[in-house]
Amino acid sequence: MYIIIVGGGDLGLSLAKFLLEEKHELVVVEKDPARFARLSEELGEAVIFGDGAELGTLLDMGANRADVLVAVTGTDQDNLVICQLAKLIYLIPRTIAKINDPKNEELFSSLGVDATVSGTKLIASLIEEKIDAGMTIPILAFKEGGVEIFKSELSQDSSLVNRKISKLKLPDECNIIAVLRGNQVIIPRGDTVFREGDEIFVLIRKEKKEAFKRLFLEAV
């Protein structure tokens, strides 16, 4: 796979090193001369000097044959514009952007950026997870409809423990799609009874997630 990484900050550099070890072909572009010099020492010819938000630079990097473009500069506006140009002009199939302001996430995906990574959100969610009894880990978010799959391990405080699915009043627009018990995956049916330590996988509309956590995962 041919991958373009725009932005040679710590994230861009680590990502490049990791992907090179995985034998991908890639190039990193960095516009700060001092950073570029440092990157060259580590990455050799896999880094070029230039502004990745410039169309000419992208073309020089072989944007029209790239499979993936990752925009990890320091600012949301640059990452958004770069991903949009990559898609629109060079038809790069997959674009990924780093986001600082989590409120931009929806905008980015509505404008065609295929995937977004928000460090802010990730750290915030880890902090919240430490505090919450009912900790949920996002597994998959659907770009289109504000729907996600998360998993959560049932603690002894969960009101689901020792209850049958058919007796639950689940909120609208949510489904428990799988239960992991030890090494066994259970596809739940009406008569499935939950146990402490079960890991449940829930498909849910995002607005309903808080209600679900309150009702079933946190200590009453």
């Binding site: 169309l55 958004l80 949009q84 302001d101």
Partner: protein, 139 residues
């Protein structure tokens, strides 16, 4: 709303053009809010006017919301950064649903690309070049 007013206008970037437009629009009776990341930029605005000033970084949802973008009739992105202008205009157009949105983009290729994506773009580079071309044609 007085006769010349075009309603509520939010301008991002108290650049020379931003400040000039803000002054004109405010004089015509529009309700004007200007956002800039540096307090010193507001020195370009007339003293004691009706123009509301907000300090905030460019592409930040909360800043735009604080400036009242949800109820704005017009949004103009006039910072000195093409990418901030483009991204903010997209935010205003797609998320805040502002009826009239335009932004300044210096780079001609970029201007063309984002025009294709449905943004109203004013590209000073092209405009100035055309003016010079016109001048050269006159005898």
């Amino acid at each position: 709303m007085s006769s010349g007013s075009i309603g509520k206008v939010v301008i991002l970037g108290c650049s020379k053009v931003g400040a000039m437009l803000a002054t004109w629009l405010s004089q015509e009776g529009s309700d004007v809010v200007v956002i800039d990341s540096q307090d010193s930029s507001f020195a370009r605005l007339p003293k004691g006017g009706q123009i509301k000033r907000i300090i905030g970084i460019g592409l930040e949802y909360d800043t735009l919301k604080r400036a009242g973008l949800e109820s704005a009739d017009v949004f103009l992105a006039l910072t000195n950064s093409d990418n901030i202008n483009i991204a903010a205009a997209e935010l205003a157009q797609h998320k805040f649903k502002v009826p009239k949105v335009a932004c300044r983009v210096y780079g001609p290729q970029r201007a063309k690309a984002f025009e294709e994506l449905g943004l109203n773009i004013i590209c000073p580079t092209v405009m100035v070049a055309e003016k010079f071309q016109e001048f050269l044609k006159t005898k």
